[in-house]
């Protein structure tokens, strides 16, 4: 009798992360920005660096899309929010998908930590205490804010409250992105925003 251990949640195939039609440059801009920030949140909460992201790429069989540290940097640098005019600004759909899969894979790996952080946030909020009171959250928010300000073009102009709000929202999102339907949810969230900017009527969000 064989006893085989199989991960239930294999990564969805590219075919499932589909696009109704190719995104236009503005939509891709939105996608790039959001993806970069999701990864930023992961960095800040779990100390994930480019090494872990590349390892995830390898585990997911995405080396051809995200080959090395430089490639990864360029993909993230493509975000319109980032400082620096030089460098590659493109991100094609395949690359976006790869980043989605990598992000959700990492969110799943660190699911327990992310969940603990959200639980703490819930408790403190219920007690009307600021999130910084928990060191896990305080460190997360500080790291997020510092890194954001360091990397983003208008980073210094971002208010701490705004950054806190963004960081906490992303943290909660990560909890969902680490779940079984995470990649599909993240993909839908990216598309929803990008589709919202189309001149045509806003479609209902894909679930």
């Amino acid at each position: 009798m064989n006893s085989t251990v199989i991960p239930i949640t294999a990564a969805p195939s590219f075919a499932e992360l589909s696009l109704p039609q190719p995104p236009d440059p503005e939509q891709l801009d939105n996608i790039k920005a959001q993806l970069d920030l999701v990864l930023l949140a992961l960095e800040a909460i779990a100390g994930i660096g480019s090494e872990a992201m590349l390892q995830a790429a390898t585990q997911l069989g995405l080396e051809s899309v995200v080959a090395d540290r430089v490639a990864l940097w360029r993909l993230r640098q493509a975000s319109p929010l980032r400082k620096g005019q030089g460098g590659r600004k493109k991100l094609d759909v395949e690359e976006a998908r790869a980043l989605v899969l990598i992000s959700c894979h990492l969110a799943k790996q660190h699911q327990e930590l992310i969940r603990r952080a959200v639980s703490l946030l819930e408790q403190l909020t219920e007690q009307n205490k600021p999130p910084h009171q928990a060191s896990l959250l305080g460190d997360y928010l500080d790291t997020f804010q510092n890194t954001y300000q360091e990397r983003m073009d208008e980073g210094d102009e971002a208010s701490p409250e705004g950054l806190t709000h963004l960081a906490l929202k992303l943290l909660i999102d990560l909890m969902f992105y680490g779940g079984n339907q995470g990649a599909r949810r993240l993909w839908s969230a990216l598309l929803d925003r990008s589709l919202a900017h189309r001149p045509t009527a806003r479609p209902t969000s894909a679930s």
Partner: protein, 467 residues
Amino acid sequence: MMTQANVNSTILRKYTPPTCTLEISAKPSPLAKWIGNTALKNVRFQLSFDDPRVSEDQWVTLRGDRNQLEALADVVATYVQSFLNQSSDLLPQVAGVGTGLVATIEPLTTTLAAPTNPYGLALQPKGLLSHTLTLGALATEQSGAEIHLTSTQLADLATALDEYAADVTALPTLNQPAWMNSPAAWGRVVAGALVAVGLSASILNGLSRSNNNPQTASQPASSSDQRLALQPPQSSPSPSPLLSPPGTLPPSATINPGSPPPPIITTTPPTGTTGTLSGSSPSNPVGTSGNNPAATGQVIVSQNPPGTASSGSARVENVPNAAQVGKQPPPVKEVPVPSIVDQIGSSNISSDEAGAVSQPSAAAARKSAPTAPVLDTSQAEAVEKYFQSRWKPPEGLSEGLEYVLEVDPAGELKSVTPRNEAATQYRDRTGLVEGEPIAPAAADGKKSTIFLRLDPNGKVSAIKQQL
């Protein structure tokens, strides 16, 4: 974590993320033999919001049928997606308008349209971290018209519903290779697949004879993969709204049509179905034993009767959630069971016919509560009670202790096997003494295996392994 047991003709599924428990019961349809489908009927669910971090008197239990469950799943999925979509609104405008980050720390406004559905179910945000679930037709006197969920509770609910959806077959979403349509193909079981078990032999045997079921005509895969097919009340082949493409499953996964109703092995996953949250320390509210709080990846698969002509070899597989890193999968056992193909004739699979596979001690419970989820709990409950009064968590214990107990037919503890390191370490603090009577005599006169978990917060859980 999903556990499953087959108590004769009632198929049970149980999904147990940390803060809620979703139990599904259903019966195989007697028509399954003819429609060649793994059809279920009378699907009932029980959803308990049993967050260990809140007091038990605040726990809420909802019950309903399949349609209501799917409506709830729909509401939750839509709401979660809307919630996630909102994050993009927090970003600075990227088209050069430059409004800057949204500075307010105000809760997200109720701009999320409340989806309407026939049962009056709805979800609304009540801030970033709180969500109000309007229960509509599912409301009870105990629950009230609405309940409030935290984000973690919402995530757990979504997880349980996602897991259920993944187990329910509707339409195939992958093109089936040609060999899937040949009768011979049904005899093959492909390794490396999830298998949803709990289907009678009659259902599966029907696959090899007929795939003309209108429900399956457009869904050849439904009987070929291992998920449950729900027999819709209207007999229409419309897909379940729950389903998302099961792309994670290889198309070649099949159920052995000769498989009998599985005696399912239920195990307590290492991450614990209950009590994963200690609730005692604010700094560690989740997963005191390092558990994956959203672990839902346990699927128990039944085995296959050897030597059946058209059968391959289904495997008993214990599939831990991939995120349960570092945890050992629970022991997997394969119990050969004679085919009950010959017993298809009767529309009621009696306890005698399924005697080889059923839990006789559950027969009484089954008969008296056809819609209630039934597991053979009498011995397990007794064990729980026995230890509840004896278990005194040692100081400094930070994770649950898990043991496999062998209990002889007379109810005496025969052997104790620790399943985690802490269990080995604290073995002498547990009150487990071999030879002690810890349970009533087994109704079936057989020895039994019970999984016991002792939590640092004093909670005791025991589950009997279904043989």
